[in-house]
């Protein structure tokens, strides 16, 4: 290269580069702090253990960012307290959510994969109309159908069932996973990238479509399976609108964790609410497994998101 000829220029270039790198570092560090502050605050609040002079515990939001005293009281309270008249409410909510999330994960992933495969690799008459209809239905705001779903579930006893309120969890699983198949676009985008030649040659070897799906497509689809499973598993941990309507305010023992945590924060005008520190502790407990899962499967998530984005 021309290093020897123009050392001065190179030197200034590398200085420029160092300066610009330095600027980049500064910006990124400042941004990182901004991005982390709310999360750090939640974690700090979860460990906050402050008392009034007369020994009353302060559970609300306080103006100090850093707690004056730390402790585990919020966590012990969270696991032992009786919320909304339910003993050990929080562990129950966790369990409910886990059940719903696991079932939703299996059903949704299955539905999405089966539809996406059909749309991507099979040719049949109603393919395009099906895709159009799926897209149009997806454009209706989901709350619009929520009340109808509630009536429907209720008429078959899967919601608002006084004798067996636990069935509303089954209803919730239906509500979460039933429409999942219509959200096949990301997975279809992924399948589209799998070369058709692979499918064609298998067909020439006499493979049935079923066999192709099982033996060729599924093994290749691992990233998208994980992506879908991750998405549908984390969904129930985050949604609280559907859960609130379908399980109902009257069945706190069958709430999912987000409905429960929301009630800790907002409660109602007629009860002692705003247990912010316990809410924060609950958030930490919920966030840890989800964040871990997410970080662990990050690669697949990125792949899924990118596939969806680029293909539309």
């Amino acid at each position: 290269m021309s290093n020897n000829l123009r050392p001065m220029k190179i030197k200034s270039q590398s200085r420029n580069r160092r300066v610009s790198l330095g600027v980049t570092y500064t910006i990124l560090i400042v941004l990182s702090i901004i991005w982390l502050v709310p999360l750090i605050w939640i974690v700090l609040s979860a460990f906050r253990c402050e008392y009034h002079a007369d020994g009353t515990f302060i559970g609300r939001v306080t103006s100090n960012f850093f707690p004056k005293q730390f402790g585990l009281k919020n966590f012990t309270d969270l696991f032992t307290a009786n919320y909304c008249g339910v003993p050990n409410a929080f562990p129950r909510w966790m369990l409910n959510t886990l059940i719903v999330a696991a079932a939703d994960c299996v059903i949704s992933t299955f539905l999405v994969l089966s539809v996406a495969y059909c749309m991507s690799k099979l040719k049949f008459k109603l393919r395009k109309p099906f895709m159009n209809v799926a897209m149009i239905i997806g454009l209706f705001p989901s709350f619009m159908s929520m009340i109808a779903i509630y009536f429907l579930l209720k008429s078959i006893g899967l919601s608002g069932n006084t004798e067996n309120p636990a069935l509303s969890l089954v209803g919730l699983i239906f509500a979460y996973s039933a429409g999942a198949g219509l959200g096949f676009q990301v997975a279809k985008g992924f399948f589209d990238v799998i070369p058709n030649a692979l499918v064609e040659s298998a067909k020439l070897d006499g493979c049935t479509n079923f066999k192709i799906f099982r033996k060729i497509i599924l093994p290749l689809a691992k990233p998208i399976i994980i992506y879908q499973a991750l998405m549908s598993f984390t969904g129930p941990w985050m949604d609280f609108i559907f859960a609130r309507v379908i399980i109902g305010a009257k069945n706190p023992e069958y709430w999912t964790v987000s409905v429960g945590l929301y009630s800790l924060l907002f409660g109602s005008s007629f009860s002692d609410a705003n247990l912010f520190t316990q809410f924060a502790a609950g958030c930490v407990i919920v966030a840890i497994p989800i964040v871990t899962l997410f970080m662990f499967l990050q690669k697949y998530y990125v792949e899924g998101v990118t596939a969806g984005a680029v293909k539309g």
């Binding site: 991005w35 099906f130 619009m144 964040v291 998101v305």
Partner: protein, 487 residues
């Protein structure tokens, strides 16, 4: 459906339009009835008769069973909670023959005649219609199946056995096996409820009004609810009339800003992180991805509390002496600035949304062919110039579909608004606050106020807007038009 494929400019020529298809459908019927065997002819009345005729007993029995089941459903009218299905449900769909709850009998502790349940009457009416449609589809299939066996016989082939039929379900007809669960689930839990809610827009189903009138019954209302957007009549008429345009306007402003800020913010962040020579890329990426991984209801509620009247941020600003009174960032107290609340939601949304775009564009940025940059560098282009001339166009070109879908997503961005401001600042007398989007307004009107008919009207408008935007842009997009070529 047929009309939709007609509008498709890329449709392969089929030689007949929508009406042609219908004509063909009917001429097929005549032909099948005329040409078919006696079995096929009988199939028009008794399902599976043709299959029995061709000794396809299992298949015939299935058809027959289906016919009996559906006819029984239609005639016997099973009831749930006193509301019938079947032909009675069709009659109920008029919402005419309803009984208001009758006289209370203190001795038995019962209401002599219990009130009709209009919600279920409408719902079951639609279920029944769906069943009737299914009946005719089966009817058609049963004739088709018998006719095909006729044809097979004619050319000397043996009609397919049930074993062969099942086999094709895993091969040529594999899509049927695969799509059936989704179709059923979507029909019951998505299509039906959506149709039901659309229908409610044409009723007087409105809890506050019905409570005030002391009734649980409602009826069809024509297009009154739509008119109230313009006239302000009706129970929530003033709300709709006065708040519709502001909410609609803000929904668009929000969607545009939320999309663009997150989009370009994400690209810039991705560029920063992927800068050559930068160490700790992975750490930075992980930090930003944290906001995606943490459930939104946690992170957004955390931000909401951070920004509260007595929250850490206000108290920090006060301690620094920059402000005297706490600032109502999110407009939670009436009188707080609506503009500030709107700006804050957009800013907080950047905090939520930028990492998504960053993640996505990172991969794309790394795939930009380096020779493009080399060439530009040789031409002496500056970094800024290269960004605007190469990087940006390339990324935008590839991610246009994402841009559209995230715009539509932002139009319906419920969580951000609901969790962050809950729509505040509020205005006395109105459900819709200053930062309410159409969807959060819809939620308030239906779930919180129980005005289902008004909610349905808002929902239909929301749908029309998102659908128009999506269809216009999506149909023009490369992804749609070249959908087939990708395969």
């Amino acid at each position: 459906m047929a009309s939709k494929s007609k509008a498709d400019p890329n449709k392969k020529p089929k030689g007949r339009g929508f009406f042609g298809s219908i004509g063909k459908f009917f001429s097929d019927f005549v032909k099948r009835f005329a040409d078919g065997s006696i079995g096929t002819k009988l199939s028009h009345f008794i399902f599976g008769a043709g299959n029995f005729y061709h000794k396809q007993y299992v298949k015939g029995a299935l058809f027959l069973l289906l016919q009996i089941a559906i006819l029984a459903f239609m005639i016997l009218c099973p009831t749930i909670n006193g509301t019938p299905y079947g032909y009675k449900a069709l009659a109920n769909l008029t919402l005419k023959n309803v009984t208001e709850g009758g006289q209370f009998d203190p001795v038995s502790g019962k209401f002599a005649e219990f009130s009709s349940n209009c919600q279920l009457m409408v719902l079951f009416g639609f279920v029944t219609i769906a069943v009737i449609i299914i009946y005719f589809i089966i009817w058609n299939k049963n004739i088709e199946s018998s006719y095909k066996a006729d044809m097979d016989r004619k050319v000397g082939k043996k009609p397919s056995t049930i074993g062969e039929d099942v086999k094709t379900l895993f091969d040529q007809k594999f899509h049927i096996t695969m799509l059936t669960p989704t179709c059923i689930a979507a029909l019951v839990f998505t299509v039906l409820p959506t149709v039901f809610m659309i229908a409610l827009a044409f009723t007087s189903y409105n809890d506050p009004d019905m409570n005030a009138a002391g009734t649980k019954l409602f009826g069809w209302n024509g297009i009154e609810n739509f008119k109230s957007v313009f006239t302000g009549e009706g129970s929530l008429g003033v709300e709709i009339k006065n708040r519709f345009l502001p909410v609609l306007g803000w929904t668009f402003i929000w969607a545009i800003f939320a999309t663009l800020t997150c989009y370009f913010g994400g690209i810039i962040l991705a560029l920063l992180i992927n800068k050559k020579g930068l160490k700790g890329k992975k750490i930075f990426r992980t930090i930003f991805i944290l906001t995606i991984a943490v459930p939104q209801f946690i992170s957004l509620l955390a931000v909401r509390n951070l920004l509260g009247e007595y929250g850490p941020i206000n108290s920090l600003l006060q301690n620094l002496g920059w402000i005297k009174e706490p600032i109502g960032f999110l407009g939670q107290n009436p009188g707080d600035s609506e503009v500030l609340a709107k700006i804050m939601v957009i800013i907080v949304n950047m905090w939520v949304g930028i990492p998504y775009t960053m993640l996505m564009t990172s991969g794309i940025l790394m795939n930009i062919p380096t020779d493009l940059y080399e060439a530009a560098r040789v031409d002496g282009a500056s970094t800024t110039k290269m960004f605007f001339k190469i990087t940006l166009p390339y990324v935008v070109f590839i991610t246009t579909p994402y841009l559209i879908s995230s715009f539509v997503g932002n139009l319906n961005s419920f969580n951000t608004i609901f969790l962050l401001t809950g729509g505040s600042p509020t205005y006395p007398g109105y459900a819709a606050g200053g930062t309410d989007l159409l969807v959060t307004w819809l939620y308030k009107v239906t779930i919180e106020q129980g005005a289902y008919n008004t909610g349905a009207v808002i929902g239909i408008f929301t749908f029309l807007i998102t659908a128009t935007i999506t269809l216009v842009t999506y149909r023009r997009s490369k992804a749609y038009n070249e959908e087939d070529t990708f395969q």
